[in-house]
């Protein structure tokens, strides 16, 4: 009985941990205009490191896209991953 309770507690903690980080990652990804699926999966798989990944890439992406707009080019990032990215294909 203790084993079953402990197992359920483990599963619950892991689910809360995974979903918690995924939710934070998805929100941060949306704010930083990153692909939502990428943000969700990165934070689900990597936890806190995934959040750092999203923030770093989000800032680089925003700086790059603003520089492209200044130069008169359309940002490749804004178009490509949103439209074509499909991890399950």
């Amino acid at each position: 009985m203790a084993g079953v309770a402990s197992y359920l507690a483990f599963i619950l903690i892991l689910t809360m941990w995974g979903l918690g980080w995924s939710a934070i990652g998805a929100v941060l990804g949306t704010i930083l205009k990153m692909p939502v699926k990428l943000s969700f999966c990165a934070s689900l798989l990597l936890g806190p490191l995934g959040i750092v990944y999203i923030v770093f890439f989000g800032i680089i992406n925003r700086r790059k896209s603003s520089a492209d707009q200044r130069d008169g080019f359309e940002s490749v990032f804004q178009a490509a991953p949103q439209a074509n990215w499909d991890p399950f294909s």
Binding site: Y7, F10, K37, L45, G47, V76, F88
Partner: protein, 329 residues
């Protein structure tokens, strides 16, 4: 899609889960080790991970990208458990009342983290990075075909230092009597801060592996120099303290008459020096720009293999040797 490296990393995570996660060092008794299989429901969790990874492996062998995600998720479950356990252990040991002995907290020396946690966490993080980089298909920030050498060189001593910090550095004992105590690096004052710095540097270097930004490498280099210098000073201070303990303790405490400096202390000193050099090298652009390509192939006895497959095979062979050695001992 190459399958051997993800499979080897999954195997590394599962093997890491069977290695010691928690070490209990009672006075005058041998070390007791505990891993995930020792707790109620732990074997169930391990089997859940294995059952989750089986469809992932099948999809991976069928060259489906979703298989890589499922395998990454299975490894991630163990990685999260390791992270949660590391955090909890840090909190629990911090609330144990301290028993000071020449700057060493003897109470915290009784419980420590085993080598299984960093191995499992690192295996799952590297696999997670591979999965996420495969998803991130942007031309501008997409996956690097070539991997810089300096982060790889810096990560080796950093991981060794992080593992070595939980191994015994000093052995205190009474000659002629069976009473003895083991002092690991994590029982020393300020070791929590140093460990946090090490893990921050490890995470930053992993970021530097996948990002094309010079500023990230510079930040990692500065962090590594700081961690390396601190490790060197820490080891020297403990070594000096260890020698001093031999003169101080018999008169002041009256119990400890022998003090033995263990090999792990010297390993920490050497690792700190290597990390310091790697950190300095990363600040020099000509050295930090050197890279090795993972997607290219290499010649081994007139046959061509991908570098990632060779790395995966090496990891599997190392796991096999470790299992063999453990079963023989």
């Amino acid at each position: 899609m190459k399958v051997l490296l993800p499979l080897s990393l999954l195997m590394l995570c599962i093997y890491g889960a069977t290695m010691p996660w928690v070490l209990i060092r009672p006075f005058s008794a041998s070390i007791r080790t505990y891993n995930i299989t020792d707790v109620p429901g732990g074997i169930g969790i391990l089997w859940t991970v294995i059952f989750l990874s089986i469809p992932g492996i099948i999809l991976l062998l069928l060259r489906k990208p979703s298989g890589l995600f499922v395998v990454g998720l299975a490894a991630g479950v163990l990685g999260w458990m390791g992270t949660v356990l590391g955090l909890l252990l840090g909190v629990i040991t911090s609330i144990i009342p301290s028993i000071d002995l020449a700057g060493i907290d003897m109470a915290k020396a009784q419980a420590g983290q085993g080598p299984g946690v960093p191995i499992t966490v690192l295996g799952s993080v590297i696999l997670g990075i591979i999965v996420v980089q495969r998803m991130n298909s942007s031309e501008q920030i997409g996956p690097k075909i070539s991997v810089p050498v300096v982060p790889l060189v810096a990560l080796v001593p950093l991981v060794l230092l992080a593992i070595n910090h939980h191994v015994k550095w000093l052995s205190l004992g009474v000659e002629g009597g069976g009473f003895r105590a083991e002092i690991p690096g994590d029982s020393l004052y300020g070791s929590g801060l140093l460990l946090a710095g090490m893990w921050l540097a490890i995470a930053s270097w992993i970021m530097a592996l996948v990002m094309k930004s010079r500023i990230v490498v510079v930040i990692c280099g500065v962090l590594s120099v700081l961690v390396g210098v601190t490790c060197v000073f820490y080891s020297l201070a403990v070594w000096v303290g260890g020698k001093a303990l031999g003169w101080i303790i018999p008169s002041s405490v009256g119990d400890w008459s022998s003090v033995k400096v263990e090999a792990a202390l010297y390993l920490s000193l050497g690792g700190g020096v290597v990390l310091f050099v790697a950190g300095i090298c990363s600040l020099i652009p000509a050295i930090s720009n050197k890279s090795v390509s993972l997607s290219t192939d290499v010649d081994i006895s007139k046959k061509r293999f991908f570098v990632s497959e060779v790395i995966g095979a090496i990891i599997i062979v190392c796991i096999g040797i470790a299992i063999l050695v453990r079963s023989l001992l």
